[in-house]
């Protein structure tokens, strides 16, 4: 498999906080790469570095063989990287359909308005917003807004989709639906880099997982390998001996 996105020694510092430190990994064509780590590990910052909201202090971001380090978010979107935000950012006064149309209009395919509306219409259906197309985005429920984030990102017909905690705040049945949606998107050939805290979901969805802690890569591998990595267990659950003790007693 070829690499779609490569990060090479990327670092970002905010004042005294080293948010991301010399981080390197790659997202391969067609895979779902999970990104996990405790709160404050630098996951969302990493997304901001990839899609151009922040410029890395050092290192390079390479997408489809081209260096896109420090380019503006709208240029990176045009290249085919779309993002669903953790904190939903609906264009509140616009309808659900218009929100998706913005994604389609200004995304990778740079569609004219009429075609963009068709794409937006289709995508909204697949994400389960088909019955709320004319609703104002601000009137959607939290779950609806999460879907909208997803729908807008997908309307851009991206090569790479950045999903930032799209499962957070959803109830179990909504989570199941969303997981199915994510799988369906990958099956259509979109590579996915996703941040998620719900372990069961990320373990079952991801082809590979990268674990971040304090801005650096702690581990990388298949879900199985990562789950068995003692360092990961320590970072997540504290001292390994304590956890093992718990297991023994249960």
């Amino acid at each position: 498999m070829t690499n779609l996105l490569e990060l090479k020694d990327v670092s970002k510092r905010f004042g005294g906080v080293q948010a991301v430190r010399d981080l390197s990994f790659e997202v391969r064509e067609g895979e779902i790469l999970g990104l996990i780590g405790p709160n404050g590990a630098g996951k969302s910052t990493l997304f901001n570095l990839i899609n151009g909201v922040f410029k890395p202090d050092t290192g390079n971001v390479v997408f489809q063989g081209e260096d896109i380090t420090g380019q503006k978010p709208y240029k990176i979107a045009r290249r085919g990287i779309a993002r669903a935000h953790q904190i939903v950012q609906p264009l509140g006064a616009l309808s659900v359909l218009d929100n998706c149309t913005v994604g389609a209009c200004f995304g990778r395919e740079d569609l004219p308005l009429t075609q963009a509306r068709e794409t937006a219409f289709e995508v909204a259906q697949t994400v389960g917003l088909g019955d709320r197309l004319q609703m104002r985005a601000s009137a959607l429920t939290t779950a609806g807004k999460k879907r909208l984030e997803m729908a807008r990102a997908l309307s851009a017909r991206p090569k790479l989709l950045l999903l930032d905690e799209v499962l957070a705040g959803l109830n179990p049945s909504e989570t199941e639906e969303m997981i199915a949606t994510v799988r369906a998107i990958r099956d259509r050939g979109v590579s996915i880099l996703m941040i998620e805290h719900i372990m069961r979901a990320i373990m079952s969805l991801s082809d590979r997982i990268v674990v971040l802690n304090l801005g650096s890569k702690l581990a990388e591998g298949t879900p199985q390998q990562v789950a068995e990595n003692p360092e990961v267990i320590t970072a997540y659950l504290g001292d390994a001996s304590v956890t093992h003790g718990e297991e023994a007693s249960s």
């Binding site: 935000h85 950012q89 006064a93 218009d98």
Partner: protein, 325 residues
């Protein structure tokens, strides 16, 4: 293309109807009073509709929209009186020059957001006014006068007022169609996205710096031409009347009153405001009282009707959204 697509929608014909009423009404009985009142209404509609592209669509408060109007007036009068060019040539030149300037200014000050942008636009008014006051070819603070002779090119003094009136109505029609066309286009969708959440729009791929500058530049063209017509009509221009912060603020009130982001609402707001203003100005007790009213109006709208007239109408009659944009 876009025009053909728009012509299939009812609102296209609503605009045509508005323009027709404006053009025909004063002709009935050669009603000069009505014409003079409507020419001001048209001016408010032009200024408000174009400001709406910045304020209503893009969400940027521009206190300096009047600079376009004033500069357009100056450039046009200077071309007519100083260089002896005909009005028909001077108007488009004025519009193009002011639009070009707006693009350059826009690329600079549109890096600012929110309050800072609003402050910068006030700075632009003051800066341009100070420049013009000291600019000898434009008469400095004394201003520019037109000699009566220039009216010959549009049929002498009696006809001239009618010609200017119809030109003003034409510019008004163009302003309404421009607002509508922008709103119905991909460009407009990008602007609306910026107006809602600029960061999210950029992540979605909207080229925000370029679009904002283009919006600023687009909203400058027709007000500049209106300025040319307005000051040609009065045959006199001076810095204080060309760059009047009061008028600039009034136009913001008009946009808020009508319903920012709507085409019809803003036109309706402009008409109502202009008529009210005319009434208050002509009643002896209320000289300049319109400013008090507009201040109170702005407060009431911001506090109780953030959607303006049109927002209120939409909430009462949701179906009307399909007809009136």
């Amino acid at each position: 293309m876009l025009l053909l697509r728009l012509a299939r929608r009812p609102f296209f014909w609503v605009i045509a109807l508005i323009v027709a009423v404006f053009a025909i009404a004063p002709l009935i009985g050669d009603n000069v009073d009505l014409r003079e009142s409507l020419v001001l209404d048209a001016l408010y509609i032009i200024l408000a509709s174009n400001l709406n592209i910045m304020l209503g669509y893009t969400g940027y408060i521009n206190f300096g929209s009047i600079v376009f109007f004033g500069l357009g007036g100056y450039i046009c009068l200077w071309l007519v009186s100083g260089l002896g060019l005909p009005l028909a040539v001077s108007l488009p030149i004025a519009g193009t020059c002011v639009s070009g300037l707006a693009l350059v200014f826009g690329l600079g000050i549109l890096r600012l957001r929110g309050h800072f942008f609003a402050l910068a636009t006030i700075g632009i008014i003051e800066g341009v006014q100070a420049f013009v006051q000291n600019f000898k070819p434009w008469g400095g603070s004394a201003g520019l006068y037109l000699s009566g002779g220039v009216l010959k090119q549009i049929g002498g003094p009696a006809n001239a007022l009618w010609v200017i009136y119809f030109l003003m109505i034409a510019v008004m029609g163009l302003s309404l169609y421009l607002s509508y066309a922008v709103k119905s286009s991909k460009f407009g969708l990008g602007l609306l996205a910026i107006g809602q959440n600029e960061d999210a729009a950029a992540v979605l791929g909207v080229p925000t710096p370029l679009y904002k500058a283009l919006a600023y530049c687009t909203s400058a063209f027709l007000p500049a031409i209106a300025g040319g017509l307005f000051f040609f009509k009065s045959a006199f221009i001076e810095p204080a009347s060309a760059f009047d912060l009061t008028l600039s603020t009034e136009v913001i009130v008009v946009v808020m009153l009508g319903g920012q982001g709507t085409v019809f609402g803003v036109a309706l707001g402009a008409l109502l405001y202009s008529e009210l203003r005319g009434y208050l100005l002509t009643t002896a007790t209320f000289s300049n009282f319109q400013l008090v009213i507009s201040g109170a109006l702005l407060l009431l709208i911001v506090l109780f009707f953030p959607g303006g007239l049109m927002g209120w109408i939409y909430s009462r009659f949701p179906r009307i959204q399909k007809v009136l944009e």
